[in-house]
Amino acid sequence: MGHTKQETMPVIRDLRDFDRHSGNRLERLVFNYRPLFMLLMALATVVLGYMAATRLELRPSFEKMIPQSQPYIQNFLENRQSLRGLGNSVRVVVENTQGDIFDPAYLDVLKQVNDQLFVTEGVDRAWMKSLWSPAVRWTEVTEEGFQGGPVMPDTYQGKPEEIEQLRQNISRAGIVGSLVASDYKSSMLIVPLLDKATASGQRIDYHAFSQMLEEQLRDKIEFAGDSAARKAGEEGKGQYKVRVIGFAKLMGDLIDGLIQVMMFFGLAVVTSLIIIYAYTRCVRSTLLVVGCSLIAVVWQLGIVAWLGYAIDPYSVLVPFLIFAIGVSHAAQKMNGIMQDIARGTHRLIAARYTFRRLFIAGVTALLADAVGFAVLMLIDIPVIRDLAITASIGVAVLIFTSLLLMPVALSYVGVGAKAAERALKIDTRAEGHKGFGKLWDLLDRFTTAKWATGAVLVAMLMGIGGFMVSLQLKIGDLESGAPELRADSRYNRDNAYITSHYALSSDLFAVMIKTAPEGCLNYKTLVLADRLAWELQQYPGVQATASLVNAVRQITAGTYEGNPKLNSIQRNQDVLNYAAQQASVNSPELFNTDCSLMPVITFLKDHKAETLDAVVGIAEKFARENNSEDRQFLLAAGSAGIEAATNIVVREANRTMLLYVYAAVTLFCLITFRSWRATLVALLPLVLTSILCEALMVAMGIGVKVATLPVIALGVGIGVDYALYLLSVQLHYQRQGLPLSQAYRNAVSFTGRVVGLVGITLAAGVVCWVWSPIKFQADMGILLTFMFLWNMLGALILIPALSYFLLRERAPEPGAVAVAENTESTERPGMSHALTTSE
C-alpha cells in the first residue's frame, strides 16, 4: 500500500542541503528571485486593482445581447434609425385604485408625473404623449371639415363640466386602449427617449433614469415616501400606483439585479472560506487560498476593465467561476505542500516540490477549462463572446495566481503544524480503510461485475429517460413578460397589468418594407403591406397589426367625412400623399423621413418559440413571394423580431457548440490518455450529465437561450477535469501492471478528495446565483450547480463502472505502454505522472 504515499522526493529539512539550481527554468526564475517575484505580483495587483476600481463599468448593452451577424439583425441594425416607432421609449401608467381617471385629484397626480418626466434629461419632449400633452388631440369631421383640439381642455381647472368635456374628448380621440386603459382606471404616458441626452451629449444612463423613476415618481406617488417598502418589491398601499415598462426601465432593473448579484460574491467567498477551512483546518492556508483566488479575480477584473470590457449580466458570472476554479487549484497545492511539511521538509522546498509536481497538471486542467470557454467564442452573440474572452483571461490569470503565486506565498508563510500532521493522518487513515477510506472502499466496489453492471444499467436507464424528456426541450423563452427578469418581479407585474388593461402587447414583431424614396406611399406597396398584415393576422398568436396602411385607410375615410365605406386604400396618388402627410403628423413612427422604409408591426400574444417560428415562417414566405426590385420585405425588428433571430442563432449554436465542445474534449482526452477506451470512460459520464441537464431544463421550464447556451459547454469543459484527475492516475497504475480494482482504489484515494473539493467549491460558487433577481442568472445557477455536482458523482461512480467494461485487466495498448513508459523514463512532465503525485 506504499503507493498511496507521496512519490518519493527527498525530505530536506535544511535549505542549505537543497540545490537551488534544481528544477526547471520557470521554477528557478520564480523561486530563486522570490522577493522580486512577490514585488511584481504586488505591483500587478495594485495596478490592476486600481484599473478595476476606477474603470470597471456596469453596462448591460442591448446590442451585445443580440446575434450581430444574423441576417434579421443586420436588417434591423441597418434600418434602426428609420424605426422610430420601435425606438426606445418608456411607458408610465398611473393607476387610480379607488376610482377612475375622471377625478380631479387623479388628474393632478398625473400632471405631476407628466411635468416630472417632461423635465427629465434624455426625454424626447416633443414626442411625449399623455392626457396632459397638448399634442394629444381629438379630431372630428364636421360640416365644415375637420375640427379638433387638445384632449385636455385648454382651460382645465378641475370643474365638473371640464371633466365631462375631457370624457367626451377621450372618446372622440379614440385613445381608449392606447393612452387610457379600457377600464378607465389608469392612463398612460408614452415617454420616448433620446439616443443621447441633449445637454451633455452622453448616452442616457439607464440606471440613473430608472432610479429617477423610482425615487421621483414611485416613492412620492405610490409609496408616500416609504422607499424601504418600494425597495422590498412590494406594491404601494396608496391610492395611486405608478407602473413603468420599457427598455430603459428594464436595463435599470437589470443593473440593480447586477449589483445584487455582486453582493452574492461575498457569500461565495465566505462559503469558500468555510469549505477550505473544513478541508485544511488551517487558518493561515485557508486565508492564503482564498486570498490568492481573490487576487485572481482582481486581476481578471482589472484586465477586463483595461481592455474596455464592461460587466454585464453575463460576464458578471466570470469572477464567480474564476474564484471557484482558483480556490480548487490552490487547495490542491496546499494539500501537497502540507504533506511535505508534515514530513519535515522545509516550507520553501515543499513549495518547490509541489510546483514541480503540479504546475503542468494544473496547466493541463486549466486548459481543459479553457476549452469549455473557448468553444463559446463560436457563438455569434457578443455577450457570450465577451463571457468567453473574459473567462479565458481569468483562466490565464489563474496560472499566475494559483499555480505560481500560491506556492511562493506559501513558501513564506508555511502552514500550521497541526494542520500538516492532520493532512498526513487523513491519508494514512484512508489507507487503513478508515475515514475517507470507507468511502473509497465503497466506490471501489463499482469495479466489480455486479456493481459495475448495476451502475451502468441505471445510468443507461437515466440516459434514455433523460433523452426522452429532453426531446421536449424548447428554444427561447417560455414565459410571458420580460424574460430577463423573474415572472413575479415588479417589472413583469407592471407589464402584465399594462398588457391586460391596454389593447396591445409589448411583444412586437416588425417586418420592414424597404423601397426607393417615396416608395412607401406607392399604392402597390400599401396593398402588399395590407396583405402581409392580413396574412400575419391569420395566425392565432397575433393579436393585431399596425402599419402606415391603418393610418392611410383611416385618414382617407376622414377626408370623405368619416364615411366608413371609404376606410380604404385609394389608387389616387394625391389621396395617398395627403394621407401620408397627415400620418406624419399624428403617427410619425409609421414610416421614415424619405418614405423609403415602413414597418408592418405585429403585436404577439407572447414570445414563445412556437409563436415566433410561426410568425417568421409566414413573413418569410410572404417575403419570398413578393420581394421585387421595387420593394423588399425585410425581417425583423421589434422585441419579438430580435428574439426570433436570437432563437434561430441559439438553436443552431446549441447543436454546433455541443459538437465542438465534445470534439475538443475528446481530442484533449485522447492526447492525455492515449487510449480511446479511456476517452470513452471519461466522456460517457459527461454525456449522461449533458442529457440529464437538458431533461432538467424541460422539467424546470427553462428553454435553450443565450443564457443557458454556455452552461453545457462550461459543464463539460470543467467537468472533464474530474475524469482527468481520476483516470490519469488509474491508467498510470494500470500501466504499471496493477489490476483495475487496485488501480482505481489508488486513484480515488489520491484524487477523490480533490474531485470532491473541486465539485463542492465550484457548486458553492454558482449556487447563490439561484437567488439572483435576474431570471436567466438564476437558471444558469441551477443548471451549473447541477452540472458540477452531477459530473462529480458521475466521475466517481461511472468511471470505475465503465472501466470494468472497457479497461478491465486488459493489457494497455502497445502504443500507449510505450508512451507511458517513455513518459516515466524521461521524466516527461505529463499529466498522468504529475497527477499521480498530487497528494
Binding site: 372630428e140 369631421v141 364636421t142 360640416e143 372618446s171 402597390k524 396593398v527 402588399l528 395590407d530 392580413w534 393576422q537 391569420q538 370623405y560 367625412e561 368619416g562 364615411n563 366608413p564 365605406k565 371609404l566 376606410n567 380604404s568 385609394q570 389608387r571 389616387n572 419570398r624 413571394e625 413578393n626 420581394n627 421585387s628
Partner: protein, 357 residues
C-alpha cells in the same frame, strides 16, 4: 468520387432552389384579379354592408370578404369571391339574385343566394363605358353642351384607372338596378347587370358630390349624398331630381316606408319627411356622432345605428327617437333583421347579433 457527387447534388439543389425562388417571386396581382382569401377571421373583420337573401343573411366587407349565414348570424360561411377589393354594399332583390359593389368600381353578381360570385364590372371598364355612351349621345346631339363634358369625364376615368369606389347598390328586381359612387358616379342596368348605362346626366348634382347611398321607401327612390345632397327619382322626368333639405352636411343613408322618409348622416343629424320629401324636420336625438346605418324593423320601427355603436329607436311613426344603450358598443355600418327577428349588425369589428328588447 463520392464527395464530388455530393457537391454536384448540392450545387444542383442550390440552383434549383434559386430558380424556384425566382419563379416564386411572382408579379404583383391587382386586388381586382386576386380572389379573396378564405379566412377564419373574416366574420370578425371589417364588414360594411348586409342584406337578406330570403332567410339568408349576406354581408360584405374589406378584402373581398362576403359572408353568409343561415342561422341569423350565429355562424358565417365565406363565399367564393373573384376579387379582393374592399366591398361596400350588397342588394338582393330576390332570394337568389344579388349584387355587391365596392372599391375600384367593382360590381359582383351572385345567382345562388350569395354562395358564389362572379365579377360583372370593374373600374377599369367604367371610363370606357362613359366615353362610349356619351360619345354616341354627343354625335347624336351635337348642340347639347353636356355630352362633351361627360365624355371628358369618362376619359379622365380611363386615365386614372380603377380609381373610383362604388358606395351603394340597389336593385328593384332581378333586372333593374343602380350602383352609385363617388363624384356623382352612377350606372343603371336593365338586364341584371349584363350591360350598364352611365346615368351621370340624370342627376341634379352639378357639383359632382359623392353619392353615398341609394334606397327605396316603397313609394319613392332616394339617393343620399355629400353636403346635403338628396335626390329623388322623378318618373316623369326620368331623372333623379334634387330635394331641398334644411341640412348642409353629408348624408350617409336614407330609409323609410310608404308615406315617410328618414335621411341620416353626419353628427347625429336625422331629417324626417312625411310629404314625399317636400319638407323635412330634424329629429333631435342628442348625439354628435355620425349615423351610419339604419333599418325599418318587422314592427315598422326605425332603428338607426351610429359610428359609436349607439342605437336609436323610433316608436311607431318616426317622430321621436330614443337612445338605446348598448353593452360594449362597436361601430355599425350595416344592419338587418333576420327572418326570426334577430337584429344583426356589421361594422369594423365584424358581425354581431344585438338583443332586441
Amino acid at each position: 468520387m463520392c464527395s464530388y457527387k455530393n457537391y454536384l447534388q448540392l450545387a444542383l439543389g442550390v440552383l434549383l432552389a434559386t430558380l424556384q425562388g425566382m419563379s416564386q417571386a411572382s408579379a404583383y396581382v391587382d386586388v381586382l384579379d386576386l380572389p379573396a382569401r378564405v379566412s377564419a377571421l373574416a366574420a370578425n373583420s371589417p364588414l360594411s354592408g348586409m342584406a337578406r337573401a330570403g332567410d339568408r343573411l349576406v354581408a360584405v366587407g374589406q378584402r373581398g370578404h362576403i359572408l353568409y349565414s343561415d342561422d341569423a348570424g350565429k355562424h358565417w360561411q365565406q363565399a367564393a369571391v373573384p376579387v379582393s377589393a374592399d366591398l361596400n354594399a350588397v342588394s338582393f332583390p330576390s332570394a337568389t339574385q344579388g349584387w355587391a359593389v365596392g372599391g375600384d368600381g367593382v360590381v359582383l353578381h351572385s345567382s345562388d343566394a350569395g354562395a358564389t360570385w362572379r365579377k360583372q364590372l370593374d373600374g377599369r371598364e367604367i371610363g370606357a363605358l362613359l366615353v362610349k355612351h356619351y360619345s354616341a349621345l354627343a354625335s347624336a346631339e351635337p348642340a347639347n353642351e353636356q355630352w362633351p363634358l361627360l365624355v371628358a369625364e369618362g376619359e379622365r376615368l380611363v386615365a386614372q384607372g380603377a380609381d373610383k369606389p362604388l358606395l351603394d347598390v340597389w336593385f328593384a328586381n332581378e333586372r333593374l338596378g343602380y350602383v352609385v359612387g363617388v363624384f356623382n358616379l352612377i350606372l343603371r342596368t336593365e338586364d341584371g347587370g349584363q350591360s350598364w348605362t352611365p346615368f351621370q346626366d340624370r342627376t341634379d348634382n352639378p357639383q359632382g358630390f359623392h353619392l353615398n347611398a341609394i334606397a327605396s321607401t316603397g313609394d319613392a327612390l332616394y339617393i343620399a349624398g355629400e353636403q346635403g345632397l338628396l335626390l329623388k327619382w322623378d318618373d316623369t322626368q326620368q331623372r333623379f331630381a334634387a330635394v331641398q333639405t334644411p341640412y348642409q352636411g353629408s348624408f350617409f343613408g336614407v330609409l323609410g316606408k310608404p308615406g315617410e322618409a328618414l335621411v341620416y348622416g353626419l353628427r347625429g343629424n336625422v331629417l324626417r319627411s312625411t310629404d314625399g320629401g317636400h319638407s323635412w324636420t330634424p329629429l333631435k336625438n342628442g348625439l354628435h356622432v355620425s349615423i351610419t346605418a339604419g333599418i325599418v324593423d318587422a314592427q315598422g320601427n326605425y332603428r338607426l345605428f351610429t359610428q359609436g355603436g349607439q342605437m336609436l329607436v323610433s316608436q311607431g311613426f318616426g317622430a321621436q327617437l330614443h337612445l338605446v344603450q348598448q353593452r360594449a358598443p362597436t361601430p355599425v355600418t350595416g344592419a338587418t333583421q333576420s327572418a326570426d327577428g334577430a337584429l344583426v349588425v356589421v361594422g369594423s369589428r365584424g358581425a354581431r347579433t344585438l338583443s332586441v328588447e
